[in-house]
Symmetry: none
Subunit: 151 residues, 2 copies
DNA sequence: CGTCTCCTGACGTTTTTTGACCATTACTGA
DNA sequence: TCAGTAATGGTCAAAAAACGTCAGGAGACG
């Protein structure tokens, strides 16, 4: 229940709001949440990945900062690019989950559709040994996203 | 008949109440009942199976939890029968398609959801040789239907 | 006896959190 | 200008916090 990483994730997303950009200082944010500064890096590394549609930039030294930007799908074009270029020939469960969360967060798919996709790409569902499992998972995610794009 | 497993089962069902969801921490619950933590897993494995209409999710690490969700069907329901008996351990594309169309006709899934499922069970998506392909397809359809029944 | 269900404990895995140490950038005062 | 110091953020390994698995013991029941 109250895990810190999730709280910080929510806080940052709230902070981004409509603008899609949040800029913070690591030490200040860590102090607000009463945690180690490196905890912030953990949140960035696990919750604001490129699969989930975020870009993180930072700068050290005086006046340093961390800036998180959400990449929005403007046209259907960006999604086609996602399918054809970003998703390759194989995909881990975490990566696939990231893409699904992104599609849901940006209202391309609803909660039920996200749940269906998550069930499909789960490692227990694709019960295969590892080189093959990730290949089938990539096929699945691409096919399912394409199916949704026809509407 | 005052066995622990039954007590814990009752407690969890009471906790789910109308919402159909119970979330607990394994160690805390075990402490409440004065038993070994693994006893909780035993209860989950024997009493809250998908066959009985439940889905169990969990998370490890700090802030970890166990969440039990009651699915929207009764034992003896047509859908229950579909998942438990009709869909076996393997499934052809035509058979799967038939089930998906039926779910749509019965308004259990909408058009988009049907399209996602159809894409997933297509033979080109599950690019495997024949004994295996039909096994994975059966897994896929069952998992996707279960996913939808949570809502 | 043999089998089934319940229950425990030892050991394993995953996720989060912390802390020590490193790297980079800005400021400041000869 | 330039060197030194202050101010930031980054990395990585270890600890901590949960949950999972599995073999086996203890009864109950036929």
């Amino acid at each position: 229940m109250a895990n810190l990483a999730d709280d910080i994730e929510q806080f940052l997303k709230l902070m981004m709001g409509d603008s899609g950009v949040a800029e913070v200082q690591r030490a200040t944010l860590a102090a607000q949440f009463g945690c180690a500064p490196s905890q912030i890096n953990y949140v960035l590394a696990t919750r604001f990945t490129s699969e989930r549609g975020y870009v993180v930039e930072s700068r050290r030294g005086g006046g340093g900062y961390i800036r998180i930007t959400r990449l929005n799908f403007e046209a259907g074009d960006a999604i086609h690019d996602l399918i054809q270029r970003q998703i390759g020939s194989h995909l881990s469960q975490d990566e696939a989950l990231g893409y699904i969360l992104r599609l849901h967060e940006q209202s391309i798919i609803d909660e039920r559709e996200a749940a269906i996709m998550q069930a499909a790409i789960h490692r227990d569902t694709i019960a295969l040994e590892l080189p093959y499992r990730d290949v089938i998972r990539a096929n699945l995610l691409k096919a399912m996203i394409l199916a949704v794009l026809r509407f």
